[in-house]
Amino acid sequence: MGTTASQLGKDLLSEYQELTFLTKQEILLAHKRFTELLTKDEKELQNTRVPTERILTLPELKSNPFRKRICHVFSTSEQKDGSLTFEDFLDLLSAFSDSATLEIKSHYAFRIFDFDDDGTLDRGDLEKLVNCLTGETDETRLTRDEMRQLIDNILEESDIDKDGTVNLSEFQHVISRSPDFVSSFKIVL
């Protein structure tokens, strides 16, 4: 992979266009931004993995409370260290793009929110999620009672089969009725 955007091959570009929801300009921009993260030696190599720390220096992700989860979910790394290749990065941008379908978005949102990676959102996941949203410090955190009431409310609303956890289909059902989700689950480079 080259140092400038123009060195992204034409075939590769059209393949990426086919495989993602991104437009040509967006792919080129993504490539430019991604190569900026690489060190000099890495630019020579193909399919370099950029470690999480460097990905998180991107301003688009820097202030996102879910940044670590996002890297983790989109990473194809064997060591599960959350490092991203350029293609992983494109996958990420594609899922967060304007034209991605609700299904894709909700699928990835579910995985991002599933902190312990067990396939359901249980009370622990929900608590972590709420803490991520409101901030981790003690003053911004909800009290224990408030948290319990809130999680009870969430489960009451979304847990259709009443098994105490929110699974993917329940999550997608809830999300499909949430009008703000598609417009807010978006990262603009």
Binding site: E87, E157, K186, V188
Partner: protein, 748 residues
């Protein structure tokens, strides 16, 4: 552990689910595989696989092949990019598809490739089109920094620019263009006029002789003087018919029809835009029980990159959650209220509402008085000096702006004592502000009309006060013109002289007062109200001043940049932000109210008040509306009959009845849907209970059989902790468990 639970604990005390749960079709939805466990098999069951019974070993090999077939057919239907998989796997899908495509006939291959090319072409075209969209980059930037709530304000502004541009194009092409091209296209303009009548004397305010420079400025700001007899105002279009070599252009008719057209166009456009928002709002209203999920699952705005905005978003989310939780408690409290308390609160509300009405009445009266005073001064032509004259001219605008500045502050204080729930408080204050803003225009127009139709001695000869208002439409147009200009000046001035110094003070002054004051909040509702107010004036004024849409287009164009600069440099986002969905609907709802309000005076003046006989296109008619019946009477008999039938009572009544029937049908349909939804929901909960019951039975049976057969004794307890993450991990177990109990207990 309770007995009826589907979970049971193993030795380490961790709660595990029964692997049998894996085989339930509903749980197949969970089967997405993590990167860690994808070594070997490529058969990833993505989210879309949940419709099928994929991943289950219980049904053996035959199901697997069936599943693959199913997947194949699904893959052909869907574009690859819609798969929730990694790039590498998408590639494999692509090659698979290509292989499959090779098996297909050449015709289908061709069709597929053309389809792909067409899609690529369409995508490119869309990309180009969006490139052309006004302010694309600016709006993206704002979205990136401040999130979707503020974005919706700016896209609303863009919508208004487009709307005004279209209205202007409409006005220009049907009213101004014929006048402009008439001399060049050998058109013959006829100006008909009742000569010798008292009513037809037009004394404009055009200045004669030497004109001072400051008078030019006054004219420019007030629309009088040299501006009065230009394309800008109604009075200039004193044309009856334009005779082109081949056709005759009926300008009065065009004027009336275009006015109706622009009102209708605005209505349709707004309704169309708000339809989606309205639908969402209805859904949201209906299941209010989803509010917490919306806040948690869709609460974070992933667009936000500004550090400050992140902090704000966090605190606002926390605030919202806390208030919502509190609201629940308050609801409980309201339900528990004693009669005495209830009486006390209603009494307080009554008194405060009376007070609000009193304040509103005072505001309206001062607007009325200011208008009458300003009109009188203008009529008497008392000249003092430049500044004082200008203030007199602008007195109504100044009073309206002042009233709109003071009352919202007052309302926000009052609402604290009324003891409503927090969400309702905000909505109620807003409603009061909307009422105040939009009604003040109404009061202004009312006072103008009371002046116009009032004569010194008895009833007016011409139907209006022809001495003072020889061309009253132009006068109204001038008022609207002044309001528009003043509104713009105020917005610019507030940004430059209030917000900017405030920011400087807050940033560079360390005293406590400045810190307490803080930076200006970018309050979306107030800003929206401001531009809706301007738009309402524009709608009213377009009839009297056809160039007003052009002025408004420019005005909103500049406001966009001013607001953008002010937002980025001077303001911080409001602590309680608007959600994009609800705000979109709110904007359009307020705009619709504005439109309705604009329609009333325009239709009233067209149908009821005598049009002036000294100027304008309707010189020959008593009222503007008369053009229509006159034109219809000149049409050939058939069409005339048709139009008469359409406007008859019989038609109106039957139309009304049919509409009512359609409405009842829709209402009944909605009710039926609602009941179906309730039933389905109940059924779902029931099935969940059934499932739990059955699984509990299964577990018992397994434990029994495990005790019976010592070989499999320890097996049920070693269920994998990542039970539904990967099907392959516990495949063996699952098969084992499915077969180990006696046949009678598995086939439930």
């Amino acid at each position: 552990m309770e007995v009826d639970s589907v979970f049971y604990t193993d030795h380490s005390g961790r709660v595990h689910n029964n692997p049998l749960l894996d085989q339930l079709p509903s749980y197949q939805s969970l089967l997405y595989r993590r990167k860690s466990s994808n070594s070997g098999t490529k058969r990833r069951s993505s989210s879309r696989g949940r419709s099928g019974s994929s991943g289950s070993g219980k049904w053996g090999v035959s199901t697997v092949s069936r599943r693959e077939e199913k997947q194949k057919s699904q893959m052909v239907q869907r574009p690859i990019r819609e798969l929730a998989t990694t790039m590498a796997e998408k590639r494999i899908h692509v090659t698979q598809r290509l292989e499959e495509a090779r098996e297909l006939s050449s015709l289908r291959q061709l069709r597929q490739s053309t389809r792909r090319h067409l899609r690529r072409l369409r995508d490119d075209a869309q990309a180009w089109l969006s490139w052309l969209k006004l302010w694309r980059g600016d709006i993206r930037l704002i979205e990136g920094m401040f999130g979707t709530g503020i974005l919706s304000y700016f896209s609303f502004l863009r919508f208004l620019v487009m709307l005004n541009l279209i209205i202007f194009v409409l006005m220009f092409s049907f009213i101004m263009l014929p006048l402009i091209i008439a001399p060049h296209a050998s058109g013959n303009i006829t100006y008909t006029q009742k000569v010798g009548s008292v009513c037809s004397e037009y004394s404009g305010t055009a200045r004669r002789g030497l004109v001072n420079f400051h008078e030019h400025i006054t004219d420019l700001l007030s629309g009088g003087g040299f501006l009065e007899r230009t394309y800008l105002f109604y009075g200039y279009y004193k044309v009856d018919k334009i005779h082109f070599p081949k056709a005759t252009y009926n300008l009065p008719l065009a004027y009336l029809l275009v006015t109706i057209a622009y009102l209708f166009l605005s209505l349709i456009w707004i309704v169309k835009r708000s339809a989606t928002g309205f639908k969402r709002n209805l859904i949201q209203d209906e299941d209010r029980f989803q509010s917490f999920c919306n806040k948690i699952f869709a609460g974070w705005d992933f667009c936000i990159t500004n550090e400050n905005a992140v902090r704000l978003k966090r605190s606002s989310l926390l605030y919202e959650l806390r208030t919502d939780l509190e609201e629940e408690r308050i609801k409980q409290k309201i339900a528990d209220r004693t009669r005495k308390e209830r009486c006390r609160i209603y009494l307080i509300r009554l008194i405060l509402n009376l007070f609000v009405i009193g304040v509103l009445a005072a505001c309206f009266y001062s607007i009325y008085a200011a208008t009458i005073f300003s009109q009188k001064v203008q009529m008497d032509n008392i000249k003092e000096n430049f500044i004082v004259d200008l203030i007199y001219e602008y007195l109504p605008s100044i009073v309206i702006t002042l009233a709109n500045f003071v009352t919202p502050l007052l309302f926000s204080v009052i609402i604290n004592y009324e003891d409503y729930s927090p969400a309702f408080e905000i909505r109620f204050t807003l409603m009061r502000c909307v009422f105040m803003r939009l009604t003040s225009i109404g009061v202004l127009l009312f006072s103008l009309w009371s002046q116009i139709t009032k004569c010194d001695n008895g009833p007016c000869v011409c139907g209006y006060n022809n001495k003072l208002y020889s061309c009253w439409e132009t006068r109204v147009g001038q008022e609207m013109y002044k309001l528009t200009i003043f509104d713009f000046i105020i917005i610019v001035a507030v940004t430059i002289f209030v917000e900017f110094p405030r920011k400087l003070i807050v940033n560079y002054c360390d005293c406590g007062l400045a810190k307490w004051w803080g930076q200006q909040e970018f309050a979306i509702p107030q800003n929206v109200l401001e531009i809706v107010y301007g738009q309402t004036i524009c709608w009213i004024g377009t009839f009297y001043s056809p160039m007003l849409p052009a002025i408004c287009t420019m005005k909103y164009f500049f406001i966009f940049y001013i607001k953008k600069v002010s937002l980025i440099n001077n303001c911080r986002p409001a602590t309680r932000p608007f959600r994009a969905s609800s705000s979109n609907f709110f904007f359009l709802a307020v705009l619709l109210i504005g439109l309705a309000l604009a329609c009333v005076p325009v239709t009233f003046s067209m149908a009821q008040i005598n049009s002036s006989h000294a100027c304008g296109p309707f010189v020959n008619y008593n009222t503007s509306w008369e053009v229509l019946p006159t034109t219809v009477s000149k049409l050939p008999g058939g069409i005339q009959k048709l139009l008469l039938a359409l406007s008859s009572e019989a038609f109106a009544v039957s139309f009304f009845v049919v509409t009512c029937l359609a409405m009842f049908y829709v209402i009944a349909l909605a009710g039926a849907h609602k009941r179906v939804i309730d039933q389905l929901r109940e059924q779902l909960a029931m099935e969940g209970r059934d499932k739990r019951f059955l699984i509990q039975k299964l577990c018992q049976a397994q434990r029994l059989s495990a005790i019976k057969s010592p070989v499999s004794k320890s097996q049920p307890c070693i269920s994998s902790p990542s039970y539904h993450t990967s099907f392959s991990n516990n495949f063996n177990e699952a098969v084992f468990l499915a077969h180990s109990p006696p046949a009678s207990s598995t086939h439930v």
